[in-house]
Symmetry: C2
Subunit: 353 residues, 2 copies
């Protein structure tokens, strides 16, 4: 069968022929519909991260997938069920407590592999197999947008951690500030506008489709070149919740300045090492005297996937089609890996039925 | 009646004669037993923080008090009840939602005054009044150590926020690292040793009574001059919980390096402005990829006071008497404000009965 593979940091991705996988007991064989592309995929191609499965010479890409169950004996799934797979799997030397309790997203580095990213093949192939416990049902009506379940689940997990951090007191947040109007930031804006007054900060110039989407969702776009992050409380409002989706390391620290008292910043970016100066005394003091918090969040688990399915169902009808810039078939797959200011979200389509 | 007052940053504290307060309806008149002294008091004397009550020319000090109810009509308290008062009160322009729901500790700066610290007289006087809702019962057997309820409550609130931040997943912490073996750090060690393997880091040399207490409690003292904070995971263990009680701003950031995956650092120190360089990219990445968190915590509320009463009851019998270096009467009060490596905790005694 066809798959899209890459040697991380080496070759460009290419279509390769790989054997169709055979499901083990407890696994489903899934026919792939669409697989989304994000910055992690581009980072693997560039060699910034990612690793080959043991003994393999290329990595099948893709960690944002939706597919249709082909066979899944004794798993609770039936042929025809639409499903989205979670990303983390036990390392080859076996499972661990995090997998046993369905919280692989909390497994430390080394206690997990990540399909399509680190040490395990991804979902960019005509078929894939997965343990049924790592598949989440997607309503048939959302099948064509089911590749958004994974990135939305990453938003849901970060929100869960952020809310939990404020759960010991009466917290009634009103204002959210999303850092970055890229593909993840826009999903956060879409998730938050129902409950928050949402600001979204980036450095992009109009016309840009991500800015249009922020505004159509009811959010306020803030150009960081005019209003830097620490100025947002004065220029707009302090944020009860900051959602960082830029990977710009200074944002982790400037977020503290942008928070309202008792606010929390959820950090999702993964920057490289970068030394810079901060007023560490002031940041420390501001965290303490106003009970502020920073929470880092990575990956997501089955319960976040289930919430993501509900969330996508609640998005405005126009949103997915506006947010997804292009869906290309396997023959044109390389167009899905192009990035640019006018491209929001892309996917590769393996099967449309 | 006698009180100990100060002009913040001006005069040394002195014994002054002030009118005995009359309780308003809903308030209790409390005869003061003992009032503890901490770094905040010394900071007020030095002029680092603190402010006078409106229209007053000195501030009665003291925010760590225990006393005996003298009169408290229609409050649920009776003459002879031992009580500890919380610190925050509504500003003179009236209460707000934080006070209404018993969470004044979450009130932002400006929405509260603090008795003995900011804009309201403290408890270092023969008598004080307090709304009954701001008093917490202390068992008679703990009356002489009841001035520890306030500082222990500050520990309890920080632990509550830290645990809440980890409540969305299965968190089974084993190792705690307390930064600072000063008066607050030692209370944290005493609170944590029942549940955690506790390390306590400071820069003090033996012989020092705080080091002896850490070890007698079953904790491990770490000399930061030999093992700096970021080296603790390699030299000892990564910490599931860091409890920062130094006010040393670099600790807020180095804590991230000392945390285990999924760990949380509770920050309690209040440093001055201090610019320094950090590897912000690495810290940001470590927060994200291992789901780490930082939570700031200030002050404490009635529920933390109640938990503190229980906690003090669970301390080893030897602990309070070893921890409290000196209790002096009003005539010798200035000895209670002396600080030094051999002095852990001090208090002024107004009445011993």
């Amino acid at each position: 069968m066809e798959a899209i593979g890459v040697e991380p940091g080496g070759t460009r991705p290419r279509v390769v022929d790989v054997p169709r996988p055979d499901p083990e007991p407890g696994e489903a064989l899934v026919r792939t519909l669409r697989v989304g592309v994000d910055g992690t995929d581009r980072g693997i191609i560039a060699g910034d991260h990612g690793s080959l499965p043991p003994g393999e010479d290329l990595l099948v890409l893709g960690h944002e997938a939706v597919g249709v169950v082909e066979t899944a004996p004794e798993t609770g799934f039936e042929r025809g069920d639409v499903v989205a797979p979670t990303v983390r799997r036990p390392p080859t030397d076996g499972g661990n407590e995090f997998f046993e309790r369905g919280e692989a997203d909390m497994a430390p580095p080394g206690a997990t592999v990540e399909r399509g990213i680190d040490g395990a093949h991804g979902f960019m192939s005509e078929f894939f197999t997965s343990p049924a416990s790592s598949l989440v049902r997607v309503p048939e009506t959302l099948a064509c947008w089911g590749f958004l379940v994974e990135p939305v689940s990453v938003v849901e997990k970060a929100l869960e951690l952020a809310r939990a951090s404020r759960s010991s007191f009466d917290w009634t947040p009103q204002t959210a500030l999303v850092l970055g109007n890229g593909s993840l930031g826009l999903l956060a804006v879409a998730a938050l506008v129902g409950e928050f007054d949402v600001y979204c900060l980036d450095r992009r110039s109009r016309p840009q489709p991500g800015i249009d989407i922020v505004e159509r969702l009811g959010g306020t776009y803030v150009d960081a070149r005019e209003t830097p992050l620490p100025a947002i409380p004065d220029q707009h409002e302090p944020a009860d919740l900051v959602f960082e989706a830029t990977g710009y390391a200074k944002h982790a620290f400037q977020s503290i300045e942008a928070l309202a008292p008792n606010g929390v910043a959820a950090l999702l970016g993964v920057p490289d090492s970068w030394r810079f100066e901060v007023d560490g005394g002031r940041l420390h003091e501001r965290l303490v005297l106003s009970n502020r918090a920073l929470v880092g969040s990575v990956n997501s688990g089955p319960r976040h996937f289930r919430r993501a399915v509900d969330r996508i169902g609640s998005f405005p009808d126009w949103f997915p089609a506006s947010y997804v810039s292009r869906v290309v078939d396997v023959d044109s797959f390389s167009a899905a890996f192009e990035a640019g200011d006018q491209i929001l979200k892309t996917a590769v389509e393996f099967d449309s039925s």
